[in-house]
Amino acid sequence: MPGQTPFQTIGPFFHDGLGWEGGEDLVRPETRGERIAIRGQVLDGDGKPVPDALIEIWQANAEGRYNHPEDRQEKPLDPAFMGFGRSATRQDGSFRFATIRPGRVPGRGNALQAPHVNLGLFSRGLLRRLVTRIYFEDCPENSEDPVLALIPHPARRATLLARRSDGADGVVYRFDIRLQGEGETVFFDC
Protein backbone atom coordinates (compact mmCIF):
# COMPACT_ATOMS: atom_id res chain seq x y z
CA MET A 1 0.00 0.00 0.00
CA PRO A 2 1.65 3.29 -1.05
CA GLY A 3 1.99 5.86 1.73
CA GLN A 4 0.31 9.26 1.73
CA THR A 5 2.21 12.15 0.25
CA PRO A 6 2.81 14.64 3.07
CA PHE A 7 1.39 18.13 3.09
CA GLN A 8 3.77 21.11 2.82
CA THR A 9 3.08 24.78 3.33
CA ILE A 10 1.66 26.84 0.50
CA GLY A 11 4.34 29.49 1.29
CA PRO A 12 4.00 33.21 0.52
CA PHE A 13 4.35 33.04 -3.28
CA PHE A 14 1.29 31.04 -4.38
CA HIS A 15 -0.75 33.87 -5.93
CA ASP A 16 0.20 33.25 -9.57
CA GLY A 17 0.15 29.49 -9.30
CA LEU A 18 -3.23 29.36 -7.62
CA GLY A 19 -4.77 32.33 -9.40
CA TRP A 20 -8.36 31.79 -10.30
CA GLU A 21 -10.25 34.13 -12.55
CA GLY A 22 -13.50 35.00 -10.83
CA GLY A 23 -12.56 32.76 -7.94
CA GLU A 24 -14.40 34.88 -5.40
CA ASP A 25 -17.62 35.00 -7.36
CA LEU A 26 -19.51 31.69 -7.40
CA VAL A 27 -22.69 33.01 -8.98
CA ARG A 28 -23.78 33.83 -12.50
CA PRO A 29 -26.94 35.78 -13.39
CA GLU A 30 -28.83 32.50 -13.99
CA THR A 31 -27.68 30.80 -10.77
CA ARG A 32 -30.64 29.80 -8.61
CA GLY A 33 -30.85 30.79 -4.96
CA GLU A 34 -30.63 33.64 -2.49
CA ARG A 35 -27.56 35.81 -3.05
CA ILE A 36 -25.34 36.26 -0.05
CA ALA A 37 -21.90 37.71 0.51
CA ILE A 38 -19.41 36.08 2.86
CA ARG A 39 -16.73 38.37 4.20
CA GLY A 40 -14.15 37.90 6.88
CA GLN A 41 -10.67 38.43 8.13
CA VAL A 42 -7.93 35.95 9.07
CA LEU A 43 -6.10 36.82 12.30
CA ASP A 44 -3.04 35.24 13.91
CA GLY A 45 -2.26 34.53 17.57
CA ASP A 46 -1.42 38.20 18.19
CA GLY A 47 -4.65 39.34 16.55
CA LYS A 48 -2.69 40.60 13.55
CA PRO A 49 -4.15 40.22 10.06
CA VAL A 50 -2.76 37.38 7.95
CA PRO A 51 -2.15 38.93 4.52
CA ASP A 52 -0.96 35.78 2.75
CA ALA A 53 -3.64 33.17 3.32
CA LEU A 54 -5.73 31.40 0.72
CA ILE A 55 -9.33 30.51 1.51
CA GLU A 56 -11.17 27.86 -0.50
CA ILE A 57 -14.86 27.12 -0.14
CA TRP A 58 -16.99 24.21 -1.34
CA GLN A 59 -20.74 24.16 -0.95
CA ALA A 60 -24.00 22.62 -2.08
CA ASN A 61 -26.41 24.46 -4.38
CA ALA A 62 -29.59 26.19 -3.23
CA GLU A 63 -31.45 22.86 -3.21
CA GLY A 64 -28.83 21.15 -1.06
CA ARG A 65 -27.06 19.12 -3.73
CA TYR A 66 -23.35 19.00 -4.47
CA ASN A 67 -22.18 19.14 -8.07
CA HIS A 68 -20.39 15.79 -7.83
CA PRO A 69 -21.21 12.22 -8.95
CA GLU A 70 -21.14 10.87 -5.38
CA ASP A 71 -24.16 13.03 -4.55
CA ARG A 72 -27.03 10.93 -5.91
CA GLN A 73 -29.85 12.73 -4.13
CA GLU A 74 -32.99 13.31 -6.13
CA LYS A 75 -32.62 17.06 -6.12
CA PRO A 76 -31.93 19.25 -9.14
CA LEU A 77 -28.39 20.20 -10.10
CA ASP A 78 -27.86 23.82 -11.07
CA PRO A 79 -25.79 24.01 -14.26
CA ALA A 80 -24.94 27.61 -13.33
CA PHE A 81 -23.43 26.71 -9.98
CA MET A 82 -20.28 24.72 -9.42
CA GLY A 83 -19.87 25.43 -5.70
CA PHE A 84 -16.14 26.08 -5.49
CA GLY A 85 -14.53 29.41 -4.66
CA ARG A 86 -11.12 30.76 -3.84
CA SER A 87 -10.05 34.04 -2.23
CA ALA A 88 -6.53 35.17 -1.31
CA THR A 89 -6.45 37.49 1.69
CA ARG A 90 -5.56 41.17 1.23
CA GLN A 91 -3.07 43.19 3.27
CA ASP A 92 -5.70 43.57 6.00
CA GLY A 93 -6.26 39.81 6.12
CA SER A 94 -9.68 40.08 4.51
CA PHE A 95 -11.32 37.70 2.08
CA ARG A 96 -14.73 37.75 0.37
CA PHE A 97 -17.06 35.61 -1.65
CA ALA A 98 -20.25 36.26 -3.57
CA THR A 99 -22.35 33.11 -3.46
CA ILE A 100 -25.82 31.71 -2.70
CA ARG A 101 -27.20 30.32 0.51
CA PRO A 102 -26.68 26.53 0.34
CA GLY A 103 -29.53 24.12 0.98
CA ARG A 104 -29.41 21.37 3.57
CA VAL A 105 -27.53 18.17 2.85
CA PRO A 106 -27.75 14.87 4.71
CA GLY A 107 -25.16 13.90 7.28
CA ARG A 108 -24.23 10.44 8.49
CA GLY A 109 -27.16 8.34 9.54
CA ASN A 110 -30.52 10.06 9.22
CA ALA A 111 -29.55 13.49 10.46
CA LEU A 112 -29.96 16.40 8.10
CA GLN A 113 -27.20 18.98 8.37
CA ALA A 114 -27.85 22.68 8.73
CA PRO A 115 -26.84 24.82 5.74
CA HIS A 116 -23.07 25.24 5.75
CA VAL A 117 -20.08 26.08 3.60
CA ASN A 118 -16.96 23.90 3.82
CA LEU A 119 -13.79 25.93 4.16
CA GLY A 120 -10.10 25.12 3.67
CA LEU A 121 -7.42 27.59 4.75
CA PHE A 122 -3.79 27.59 3.62
CA SER A 123 -0.99 30.01 4.42
CA ARG A 124 2.65 30.57 5.02
CA GLY A 125 3.34 29.30 8.52
CA LEU A 126 0.83 26.48 8.15
CA LEU A 127 2.35 23.14 7.21
CA ARG A 128 -1.11 21.77 6.45
CA ARG A 129 -4.58 22.79 5.40
CA LEU A 130 -6.94 23.90 8.14
CA VAL A 131 -10.54 22.82 7.68
CA THR A 132 -13.56 24.50 9.18
CA ARG A 133 -17.21 25.20 8.32
CA ILE A 134 -19.26 28.35 7.98
CA TYR A 135 -22.75 28.13 9.46
CA PHE A 136 -25.28 30.96 9.41
CA GLU A 137 -26.22 32.41 12.79
CA ASP A 138 -29.86 33.02 11.88
CA CYS A 139 -30.57 29.42 10.81
CA PRO A 140 -32.92 27.62 13.21
CA GLU A 141 -31.62 24.27 11.84
CA ASN A 142 -28.27 24.88 13.54
CA SER A 143 -29.70 23.47 16.77
CA GLU A 144 -30.10 20.04 15.17
CA ASP A 145 -26.88 19.97 13.16
CA PRO A 146 -24.84 16.81 13.91
CA VAL A 147 -21.48 18.51 13.42
CA LEU A 148 -22.19 21.56 15.56
CA ALA A 149 -23.44 19.09 18.19
CA LEU A 150 -19.92 17.60 18.35
CA ILE A 151 -18.63 20.84 19.85
CA PRO A 152 -19.54 20.84 23.52
CA HIS A 153 -18.70 24.41 24.49
CA PRO A 154 -21.17 27.03 23.19
CA ALA A 155 -18.48 29.71 22.89
CA ARG A 156 -16.40 27.46 20.68
CA ARG A 157 -19.44 26.47 18.63
CA ALA A 158 -20.11 30.18 18.11
CA THR A 159 -16.80 30.52 16.23
CA LEU A 160 -18.48 28.68 13.33
CA LEU A 161 -21.50 31.01 13.13
CA ALA A 162 -21.28 33.75 10.53
CA ARG A 163 -22.95 36.98 11.64
CA ARG A 164 -25.60 38.48 9.45
CA SER A 165 -25.99 42.09 8.44
CA ASP A 166 -28.38 43.52 5.87
CA GLY A 167 -26.98 46.47 4.02
CA ALA A 168 -27.55 48.38 0.81
CA ASP A 169 -25.62 45.70 -1.08
CA GLY A 170 -27.66 42.79 0.26
CA VAL A 171 -27.17 40.11 2.87
CA VAL A 172 -23.64 39.88 4.21
CA TYR A 173 -22.38 37.15 6.51
CA ARG A 174 -19.27 38.01 8.45
CA PHE A 175 -16.96 35.10 9.29
CA ASP A 176 -13.65 35.96 10.93
CA ILE A 177 -11.07 33.21 11.37
CA ARG A 178 -8.82 33.31 14.44
CA LEU A 179 -5.99 30.89 13.96
CA GLN A 180 -4.84 30.92 17.56
CA GLY A 181 -5.54 32.35 21.00
CA GLU A 182 -8.70 33.94 22.32
CA GLY A 183 -11.71 32.98 20.27
CA GLU A 184 -9.69 30.43 18.29
CA THR A 185 -11.86 29.07 15.48
CA VAL A 186 -12.83 25.41 15.69
CA PHE A 187 -10.88 23.43 13.11
CA PHE A 188 -11.69 19.89 12.02
CA ASP A 189 -9.69 16.79 11.39
CA CYS A 190 -11.22 16.04 8.01
Binding site: Q8, G17, L130
Partner: protein, 234 residues
Protein backbone atom coordinates in the same frame (compact mmCIF):
# COMPACT_ATOMS: atom_id res chain seq x y z
CA UNK B 1 -30.19 6.41 1.59
CA UNK B 2 -27.20 5.91 -0.66
CA UNK B 3 -24.10 4.19 0.67
CA UNK B 4 -21.45 6.79 1.23
CA UNK B 5 -17.80 5.97 0.81
CA UNK B 6 -15.51 7.32 3.47
CA UNK B 7 -11.91 8.41 3.01
CA UNK B 8 -9.02 7.19 5.08
CA UNK B 9 -7.72 9.52 7.73
CA UNK B 10 -4.21 10.85 8.00
CA UNK B 11 -1.48 8.28 8.08
CA UNK B 12 0.26 8.66 11.45
CA UNK B 13 3.65 10.33 11.02
CA UNK B 14 3.10 11.19 7.38
CA UNK B 15 1.39 14.54 7.86
CA UNK B 16 3.03 17.51 9.60
CA UNK B 17 1.45 18.99 12.73
CA UNK B 18 0.25 22.58 12.57
CA UNK B 19 2.72 23.68 15.23
CA UNK B 20 6.37 22.99 14.40
CA UNK B 21 8.59 25.50 16.29
CA UNK B 22 11.69 25.05 14.07
CA UNK B 23 9.52 26.63 11.34
CA UNK B 24 9.15 29.94 13.18
CA UNK B 25 6.07 31.20 11.31
CA UNK B 26 4.01 28.35 12.76
CA UNK B 27 4.35 29.85 16.26
CA UNK B 28 1.66 32.51 15.82
CA UNK B 29 -0.38 30.82 13.15
CA UNK B 30 -0.85 27.23 14.29
CA UNK B 31 -4.10 26.57 16.13
CA UNK B 32 -3.43 25.30 19.64
CA UNK B 33 -6.80 23.74 20.45
CA UNK B 34 -7.40 20.11 19.53
CA UNK B 35 -9.12 19.58 16.18
CA UNK B 36 -12.56 17.97 16.13
CA UNK B 37 -12.87 14.80 14.10
CA UNK B 38 -15.33 15.42 11.30
CA UNK B 39 -17.46 12.45 10.21
CA UNK B 40 -17.30 12.14 6.42
CA UNK B 41 -20.64 13.19 4.97
CA UNK B 42 -21.50 14.28 1.44
CA UNK B 43 -19.77 17.55 2.28
CA UNK B 44 -16.37 15.86 2.61
CA UNK B 45 -16.62 13.10 -0.01
CA UNK B 46 -17.58 15.49 -2.78
CA UNK B 47 -15.39 18.26 -4.12
CA UNK B 48 -14.73 20.34 -7.21
CA UNK B 49 -14.00 18.34 -10.34
CA UNK B 50 -12.17 19.71 -13.34
CA UNK B 51 -11.92 19.17 -17.04
CA UNK B 52 -9.47 20.29 -19.66
CA UNK B 53 -11.31 23.59 -20.11
CA UNK B 54 -9.29 24.72 -17.10
CA UNK B 55 -6.04 24.30 -19.03
CA UNK B 56 -4.57 26.71 -21.51
CA UNK B 57 -2.12 25.84 -24.27
CA UNK B 58 1.40 25.98 -22.86
CA UNK B 59 0.36 25.38 -19.25
CA UNK B 60 2.42 22.17 -19.28
CA UNK B 61 5.64 23.84 -20.48
CA UNK B 62 6.85 26.58 -18.15
CA UNK B 63 9.91 27.23 -20.34
CA UNK B 64 7.90 28.45 -23.34
CA UNK B 65 5.29 30.83 -22.02
CA UNK B 66 7.04 33.95 -23.30
CA UNK B 67 8.81 35.18 -26.42
CA UNK B 68 12.13 33.65 -25.47
CA UNK B 69 12.97 30.46 -23.68
CA UNK B 70 13.38 30.46 -19.94
CA UNK B 71 16.95 30.40 -18.65
CA UNK B 72 18.22 27.48 -16.63
CA UNK B 73 18.48 23.74 -16.76
CA UNK B 74 15.46 22.41 -18.65
CA UNK B 75 13.89 19.42 -16.90
CA UNK B 76 10.89 17.15 -17.27
CA UNK B 77 8.83 16.36 -14.19
CA UNK B 78 6.58 13.34 -14.54
CA UNK B 79 4.87 10.78 -12.40
CA UNK B 80 1.57 9.28 -11.41
CA UNK B 81 -1.13 10.33 -8.99
CA UNK B 82 -2.44 7.32 -7.08
CA UNK B 83 -4.59 6.69 -4.06
CA UNK B 84 -3.51 4.65 -1.06
CA UNK B 85 -4.78 1.47 -2.69
CA UNK B 86 -2.51 2.07 -5.67
CA UNK B 87 -5.41 3.07 -7.91
CA UNK B 88 -4.86 5.78 -10.48
CA UNK B 89 -6.47 9.17 -9.81
CA UNK B 90 -7.59 10.32 -13.28
CA UNK B 91 -8.55 13.84 -14.39
CA UNK B 92 -7.00 15.46 -11.36
CA UNK B 93 -5.93 19.06 -11.77
CA UNK B 94 -2.37 19.84 -10.68
CA UNK B 95 -1.42 23.46 -10.19
CA UNK B 96 2.29 24.26 -10.20
CA UNK B 97 4.38 27.22 -9.07
CA UNK B 98 8.09 27.67 -8.50
CA UNK B 99 11.10 30.00 -8.34
CA UNK B 100 13.27 30.57 -11.39
CA UNK B 101 16.77 29.20 -12.07
CA UNK B 102 18.24 31.89 -9.78
CA UNK B 103 15.93 31.18 -6.87
CA UNK B 104 13.60 34.14 -7.37
CA UNK B 105 9.81 34.15 -7.64
CA UNK B 106 7.98 36.56 -9.86
CA UNK B 107 6.09 37.97 -6.89
CA UNK B 108 6.04 41.41 -5.23
CA UNK B 109 6.83 39.97 -1.83
CA UNK B 110 10.01 38.22 -3.04
CA UNK B 111 12.85 40.70 -2.49
CA UNK B 112 15.70 38.20 -2.81
CA UNK B 113 18.65 39.85 -4.54
CA UNK B 114 18.66 37.53 -7.55
CA UNK B 115 17.62 38.29 -11.12
CA UNK B 116 14.14 37.79 -12.52
CA UNK B 117 13.90 36.03 -15.86
CA UNK B 118 11.54 37.91 -18.20
CA UNK B 119 10.87 34.61 -19.94
CA UNK B 120 9.80 32.70 -16.86
CA UNK B 121 6.59 33.17 -14.88
CA UNK B 122 6.89 29.96 -12.91
CA UNK B 123 3.25 28.93 -13.16
CA UNK B 124 1.82 25.81 -14.77
CA UNK B 125 -1.18 23.49 -14.81
CA UNK B 126 -1.60 19.90 -15.90
CA UNK B 127 -4.20 17.22 -15.57
CA UNK B 128 -3.69 13.53 -14.94
CA UNK B 129 -4.73 11.12 -17.69
CA UNK B 130 -6.80 7.96 -17.29
CA UNK B 131 -3.82 6.16 -15.73
CA UNK B 132 -3.15 9.02 -13.34
CA UNK B 133 -0.04 10.11 -15.27
CA UNK B 134 1.07 13.69 -15.57
CA UNK B 135 4.08 15.42 -17.15
CA UNK B 136 5.35 18.96 -17.47
CA UNK B 137 8.48 20.73 -18.66
CA UNK B 138 10.15 23.43 -16.62
CA UNK B 139 13.55 24.62 -15.47
CA UNK B 140 15.20 23.40 -12.32
CA UNK B 141 14.54 26.00 -9.61
CA UNK B 142 17.40 27.17 -7.39
CA UNK B 143 17.47 27.32 -3.59
CA UNK B 144 16.82 30.73 -2.04
CA UNK B 145 17.36 32.31 1.37
CA UNK B 146 14.63 33.00 3.90
CA UNK B 147 14.66 34.54 7.34
CA UNK B 148 13.73 31.57 9.49
CA UNK B 149 17.21 31.28 11.06
CA UNK B 150 20.76 32.40 10.17
CA UNK B 151 21.81 31.03 6.78
CA UNK B 152 18.41 29.51 6.19
CA UNK B 153 18.02 28.49 2.54
CA UNK B 154 15.11 26.52 1.15
CA UNK B 155 16.18 23.44 -0.77
CA UNK B 156 15.21 23.69 -4.45
CA UNK B 157 11.53 22.77 -4.73
CA UNK B 158 8.42 22.94 -6.88
CA UNK B 159 5.00 23.65 -5.32
CA UNK B 160 2.18 21.36 -6.38
CA UNK B 161 -1.53 21.64 -5.57
CA UNK B 162 -3.96 18.75 -6.17
CA UNK B 163 -7.67 18.25 -5.60
CA UNK B 164 -8.29 14.55 -6.15
CA UNK B 165 -11.91 13.38 -6.12
CA UNK B 166 -13.14 15.01 -2.91
CA UNK B 167 -12.84 17.87 -0.43
CA UNK B 168 -11.12 15.34 1.87
CA UNK B 169 -8.38 14.49 -0.65
CA UNK B 170 -7.07 18.02 -1.16
CA UNK B 171 -3.28 18.23 -1.06
CA UNK B 172 -0.79 21.06 -1.37
CA UNK B 173 2.81 19.92 -1.24
CA UNK B 174 6.35 20.54 -2.45
CA UNK B 175 8.61 18.36 -4.54
CA UNK B 176 12.35 18.31 -3.82
CA UNK B 177 15.36 17.10 -5.79
CA UNK B 178 17.63 14.16 -4.93
CA UNK B 179 21.02 14.80 -3.30
CA UNK B 180 20.24 18.36 -2.25
CA UNK B 181 22.44 19.09 0.80
CA UNK B 182 19.81 21.54 2.13
CA UNK B 183 17.17 18.85 2.54
CA UNK B 184 18.24 17.63 6.02
CA UNK B 185 18.41 21.26 7.23
CA UNK B 186 14.97 22.35 6.07
CA UNK B 187 12.43 22.95 8.86
CA UNK B 188 9.52 22.79 6.43
CA UNK B 189 10.35 19.33 5.12
CA UNK B 190 11.46 18.48 8.67
CA UNK B 191 7.91 19.16 9.86
CA UNK B 192 6.94 15.74 8.52
CA UNK B 193 7.52 13.47 11.54
CA UNK B 194 8.27 10.16 9.79
CA UNK B 195 11.63 10.20 7.93
CA UNK B 196 10.33 7.62 5.48
CA UNK B 197 7.38 9.87 4.65
CA UNK B 198 9.76 12.81 4.17
CA UNK B 199 11.54 10.84 1.46
CA UNK B 200 8.28 10.63 -0.47
CA UNK B 201 8.70 14.33 -1.22
CA UNK B 202 12.08 13.82 -2.89
CA UNK B 203 11.87 13.11 -6.60
CA UNK B 204 14.21 10.68 -8.32
CA UNK B 205 16.23 10.97 -11.50
CA UNK B 206 14.41 9.08 -14.26
CA UNK B 207 16.63 8.34 -17.26
CA UNK B 208 13.89 6.43 -19.01
CA UNK B 209 11.61 9.47 -19.12
CA UNK B 210 14.53 11.76 -20.03
CA UNK B 211 14.96 13.01 -23.58
CA UNK B 212 18.55 12.48 -24.76
CA UNK B 213 20.49 15.67 -25.42
CA UNK B 214 17.48 17.76 -24.39
CA UNK B 215 16.34 17.31 -20.77
CA UNK B 216 16.70 15.05 -17.77
CA UNK B 217 13.50 13.83 -16.14
CA UNK B 218 12.60 13.66 -12.46
CA UNK B 219 9.95 11.25 -11.32
CA UNK B 220 7.52 12.29 -8.62
CA UNK B 221 4.59 10.07 -7.72
CA UNK B 222 1.88 11.51 -5.51
CA UNK B 223 -0.38 9.48 -3.23
CA UNK B 224 -3.74 10.93 -2.19
CA UNK B 225 -5.98 9.46 0.46
CA UNK B 226 -7.83 6.29 -0.48
CA UNK B 227 -11.24 5.00 0.47
CA UNK B 228 -11.64 3.55 3.92
CA UNK B 229 -12.17 -0.22 3.87
CA UNK B 230 -15.80 -0.42 4.97
CA UNK B 231 -18.24 2.09 3.56
CA UNK B 232 -20.73 3.15 6.20
CA UNK B 233 -24.44 3.60 5.82
CA UNK B 234 -25.23 6.94 4.30
Amino acid sequence: MQELPEYRREEPGAQPPALHPPYASTLKRAPLQATMRLPHSLSEITGPLWDSSHLRPGDDDLTRQHQGEALGERIIVAGRVLDEDGRAVPSSLIEIWQANACGRYRHDVDQHDAPLDPNFTGRGRVMTDEEGRYRFVTIKPAPYPWRNHPNAWRPAHIHLSLFGPAFATRLVTQMYFPDDPLIPLDPILGGVPDPAARLRLVSSLDLEASVPEWALAYRFDIVLRGHAATPMEG
